[in-house]
Amino acid sequence: MSLATYRFRSMGTDVSVVLPSTHRREAIRVQRLFVEWDQRLSRFRRDSELSRVNAAAGRDVPVSPATFDVIEQALHAARATDGRFDPLLGARLVELGYDRTFAALPADRPGQPLAAWRPSRWREVRLDRARSAVRVPPGGALDLGGIAKGMAADAAVADLREAGVPYALVNAGGDLATHGAPPESGGWAVGIDNVDLAGGAALLARGALATSSTLGRRWSRGGVAQHHLLDPLSGLPMEGELVQVTVTAPSCRQAEVAAKVALLSTVAVATTFVLGHGLTAALVTRSGDQLRIGQWH
């Protein structure tokens, strides 16, 4: 059975679906799923549920159960990482100039003085499960970009599995989720930017893989370089030892969060974190060194 790749743009990134060529209809289902997720969770759509929550900061806003689930998982990730993953950085990103889709972002933004940063305000987000309502604190805004993409990829492969597709891979801007693998392939051959791999690819037999990097999505603010991954403690773009982290995990939701948390860390702390959770990772340092941690064969 030959493989086919279907590509489309959604959630501000390129999405591809690799699956048996006889399952074109199911690939279109995946596109529809991404369109729905983008409509609910984009902070750049004024009519999205997320934008309504952010615009009504300080007040309860009812949301769909699916949106509630993503926000709940994002807060769960924040608690599990003691705030090193922080979903409440949306307002700060806007302050730093990332106030529209990256494609529409001018290369240089005005350098206005920044407000004093108050870390860990994600702890003030209130969820009311009975009413499926969310409240963000005044002045705060959720940005679910990465984790939403990862969860959309997870949801897409779950949908394909239920639809009877025997194996598939969904790649949402570098966040990959898989279901099964092509027969006798041993897995999915995945190339990783800035990581030298024999043959140009690593084989992912199952599960998910995500890459976080400070090398992309960059702009300038008053002449000072910015990027979209913020250090939750300083409220400023991360400037650590690592510039890129790729992590494998059972789900893309986990891989995405783990990659961001490791990227924020020193090499030593990232190594301890990855091994402590039984994950596998490829790290790229600021000087260009590459480190492989965990189950590499």
Partner: protein
């Protein structure tokens, strides 16, 4: 006439005292009821403070990276990449 006015004033004071006693009894009763039933009396700061989150975290923080399946590893392959992971 004077005796009637004194009597009226005495009755009025008695009425006010009775009213105060009733109010005190009612207030005491509400406090006791509040303590027994766990309800919050009006004026208690807890009644006007920010509501606490009602989300139940049934999964527990330590389980975010946990799963039924162990995390997948990676192996070197001579195959050409089917897809790429770049930073997001």
């Amino acid at each position: 006439m004077q005796r009637r006015r004194d009597h009226g004033a005495k009755q009025s004071r008695l009425h006010r005292l009775k009213g105060l006693a009733v109010a005190l009894t009612a207030g005491l009763g509400m406090l006791i009821w509040g303590a027994v039933s766990g309800t919050v009396a009006v004026g208690d700061p807890a009644a006007t403070s920010t509501p606490q989150p009602v989300t139940e975290d049934t999964t527990g923080d330590s389980t975010f990276f946990g799963a039924q399946d162990p995390a997948p590893g990676l192996s070197q392959t001579g195959q050409a990449p089917m897809t790429r992971s770049h930073g997001s």
